[in-house]
Amino acid sequence: MDETVIQDRGISATFSRVPHSEPPHDGAIKGGVARSVKHDSAPRHVAGEAIYTDDIPELPGTLHLHLAMSAHAHAAILSMDLDAVRQAAGVVRVLTLDDIPGKNDYSPFFGDDPIFPEGLVQYVGQCLFAVAAESREAAFQAALLAKIEYAPLPAVLTVDEALAADLDLLPRHEMRLGDAAAAIDAAPHRLANTLHMGGQDHFYLEGQIAYAIPGEGDDMFVYSSTQHPSEVQHNVAKALGIADHSVTVEVRRMGGGFGGKESQPALMANVAALAARLTGRPAKLRLDRDDDMVMTGKRHDFRIDYAVGFDGDGRILGAEFDQAARCGYSADLSGGITDRAMFHADNAYDLQAARVTSRRMKTHTVSNTAFRGFGGPQGLLATERMMDEIAFGLGLDPFDVRRANYYPAEGGKVTPYHMEVTDSVILEMMDELAESSDYRARRRAIRAFNATSPILKKGIGVTPLKFGISFTTTHLNQAGALVHVYKDGSVHLNHGGTEMGQGLFIKVAQVVAEEFQIDLDRVKITATTTAKVPNTSATAASSGTDLNGMAAKNAAGAIKQRLIAFAAAKYSVPEEQVVFLPNRVRVGNEEIAFPDLVQEAYLNQVSLSAAGFYATPGIHYDRETASGRPFFYFAYGAAISEVVIDTLTGENRLVRADILHDVGRSLNPAIDLGQIEGGFIQGLGWLTTEELWWDKSGRLRTHAPSTYKIPTANDRPDDLRIELWDKGYNKVDSIYRSKAVGEPPLMLAISAFSALTDAVAAAGGYRVFPHLDAPATPERILMAVEDVKTRVRALES
């Protein structure tokens, strides 16, 4: 089968169309850019031959670690008697605070994540001490023998409790555009409401793991399942009190990350390295699924209060958003996450006047962390609810109300952080999707169905999406790559990005193959290691390909330039006459096979290795004035979802979704479609079945797949129509004019949440607007239906 054609996903009504993917002409390289090349690891994935950290053969003498966890949400530790633990069978070493030679901290910035507590625990599951033993079971059994005396302290568990207690973890932030309050006051129509939304566990299939191998002197080698090897390296060095140069961190692949392996792996790596240092033996720490879910951070849950003024067409005149997030006990990445929630309060809409405030609340729960979208989804969700409510209030189609408010394609309008939006394509995309999905007719058909169906109600929802691409902490927008060309013309590729399944490695390899004009199989993809490319940023913020692709292109380009200079000199032709053709190079009138030119260059002492570097140009953000251009560009998407609910039980189903997504000029349409579908279904889980539930003592009670329900194959609608937008083109000079795709599609699932809200409204004959918080579990839907019915009865009496 032609590799450029995505197979019909469409047994039943599903299909995906892949643009930008002309079949390769004769003689073209195999696997350049814009081709639907398969994931490089796919044949190994399916054969069980892809090696994850726990699959690496263990060295003789490897120790296994277990972390003991706090039983209290907030307590002083009066005493820890670990004698029995030390004496238990198989135990080699017990690790506590006193054993840490360096700094007792695994935080990314703030110094507030102790590896082992210093007299105080602040969430149920916080690491107390570690046991290194001959087996995992021995370590686990020994840890049970600890005698811990706690003095419990009052615990603040929820956003609302933290707001009531005025317990801010980080300084508040505010963005202002014009005078929103005055604009709302003067508007012909006004409304205000509140939305609570839950967090989300990453549920990467491979849990957190680190394997540390001590070397000579201070040297420490750590295999870590991490999106951020440089941070793990720095953390291990910090905890061991040694220089960064003594620590090497490597990761070939992760079994999923989704943001959960950005800051979190540092704890596992620190403890494993500490055990390895103290015992001189290799040490592995792999968290059990339940421990992983209890101990590690999740998506932030939010409360967002909004107020908006608008005219009779639903055109927004001013809007205010007060966002409050549950950060947990420590800062972690919460500052950036809550910032990004603010940056997305406008979504795709010109609000004209806006005030966005953010409070970052401290609670005695696990420290929440990065999760695909990084606050963006939460910011967007409240805004989309607001748009639905405006439309409802005016009796207009929510599609039209949104349409009246989009940032114009011609530019000239600015966001609440004063960045001009110059690349808005959302109106065109939404119009195309409405047409291709037959939106208007289906909306009418749903109303007709509901009129005759007393128990089951259908709903339809639309979501436009604009998502800012770049780390909003400007300096993180840099990347490095290392490319070697060997004498046989084969290429070794390394860069700072990590592979968690998203297809980054194959995309960057395609870029290098394209640059050298050699077949993709001549490019070797290699594990990410801090020893080859230093000081990298996390593979996060959807930026992996944008940054590392450019860095690798620059590295390959540098070698290519040397080859050009060499060939031009050697054959006495101008440099313009050295042209890289598929697997060969034309020099003047002669063609030389790529490996032959490489061999010649080697014999003539030309360097065939280069480091590449890239920093995103022209972006900045000033916190003082809450203004700037934090994003290089925006990615856009459009979604329309249809659902059905049962008003007796709250049971519900997504029956159809149509998605049109803008990935610019796709580097790999198959990989991009995979990101879109996977992100959408993950977002659907966040908004429907995935509920994190803590009991009153602060214990997370949904800490395994038995109680925490991510979508299954049956939750994916058969009728799921995903298309890449064929006009997609990045206006800025990104890698081959592509656009980032990792995070944005997750937010397209908000269309399903809007649809559920619409279906609940139907249960009250569209007389009152529903109160439906997220996730929309059967329980929340049923209670929202009851509430709607009660309010309608009140209206009638």
Binding site: V46, A47, G48, F203, R253, R289, G503, P705
Partner: protein, 490 residues
Amino acid sequence: MSDAIRFLLGDRERVLRDVPPTLTVLEYLRRHERRTGTKEGCAEGDCGACTVVLQEPDGQGGLRRRAVNSCIQFVAVLDGRQLLTVEDLKAADGTLHPVQQAIVDRHGSQCGFCTPGFVMQLYSGWLGQDYSERPEVKNWIAGNLCRCTGYGPIIDAGLAALDAERPGTAETTALAERLEALGHGEMLHLAHDGPHGRQEWFAPRSVDELAAIYLAHPDAVLVAGATDVGLWVTKQHRHLATLIDVTRIPELAALRDTGNELAIGAGVTHSAAMEALSALHPDLGKLLTRFAAVQIRNAGTVGGNIANGSPIGDLPPALIALDARLQLRKGREQREIALENFFVAYGNQDRAPGEFVESVTVPKLRPNTRFACYKLSKRFDSDISAVMAAFSVTVEAGRIASARLAFGGMAATPKRAKAAETALMGSAFGLEAFEAAAVALAEDFQPLTDMRASAQYRLLAAQNLLRRFALENAPAGRPVATRVLEIAHG
């Protein structure tokens, strides 16, 4: 008696002696065999990443096969069987199996960690021709979680591989014969001295043997599918001194249709019971497809679901509504009780030390009886019920003559709603009667709030299920659609 586990790992014969009987198949594969293709995702049978396939002779020259979660299966399950893992699928020349190739071709792997489990689950279905339509594939893989792909490419791959040629009869017969030769027909008895003391495993071959051993070891843990006991080991880290495997006993695995009744041996798996229960009423079949996942239904048993006494087991309310009876045995003594009387209190059943459930007998529905069962959970597939309800209502001369309304998740045990039943008696079948029953239901139950649902939801939804039942069985008028799955799938 045999003191060794004999099985085929792929095509290699293995003999295991002196291993801990509660060593899981997954640990055995990853640590003892260094077959690391099989992954641990949850160690509780809820994600499918560790799926492997077991094959055994079916006694008629063919093979029976099932996919199971290796994370909660103990190594003794391998005795006399063939264990196939993801490493076994490639051809000798390195060619991928059609199922593997289809996943590659359709971009069905991203991070790849769940992939070996999907490969094995699809492989078992491909081999057994267990699915041919899209909804069947989706049900087939509903116990395999993938966090990356959104499933579309995997579903497509499952369908795409269907046409590939399967092993011929000769090959199957040869393997069946090899496995027959491996089988010893004797009781397996394993003993192992570990750091926490001695562990013994008995796998009796007849009910009489079981009865005698259990009487001699009344503290032993009876293990069938290990879908619960497996977690005692992997999650609770309990030391189990004596275990008795009840899955090697033909009588316990028997299903008997006596015309008016269905007798289900305690060792009948949910997969094996599905056809017979569906025939009793389609709702029972639908319930079973939402009962955990294929891998769990292939291991878990009807007897286990009853005997563990869980307040949230899905079968007991359904069987109580059907007025099922339980046959118990201790030594040579047998007795029979109504299933509803088995559940005394939370964690307490009417079962003496050394006594075990032998079978459950389910009367068939009469023509004038209306029956339904409903399961409510956050997720449709592979989830534990927030509320499970089963209703059996008989109408005579236009009036409700008997009503059995049984619920799970509403109390500390599966329980009938006596006040609601009373409210129905003598009324005409219709919404009015069930409204009264719904009101009375509040006297029957004071449910708990937990992570699955609040007390308020449980009661309201349970009441609404009575209303749903009335609507679905309305004697006249237009049928009212009440089930989203039926609408959603057209």
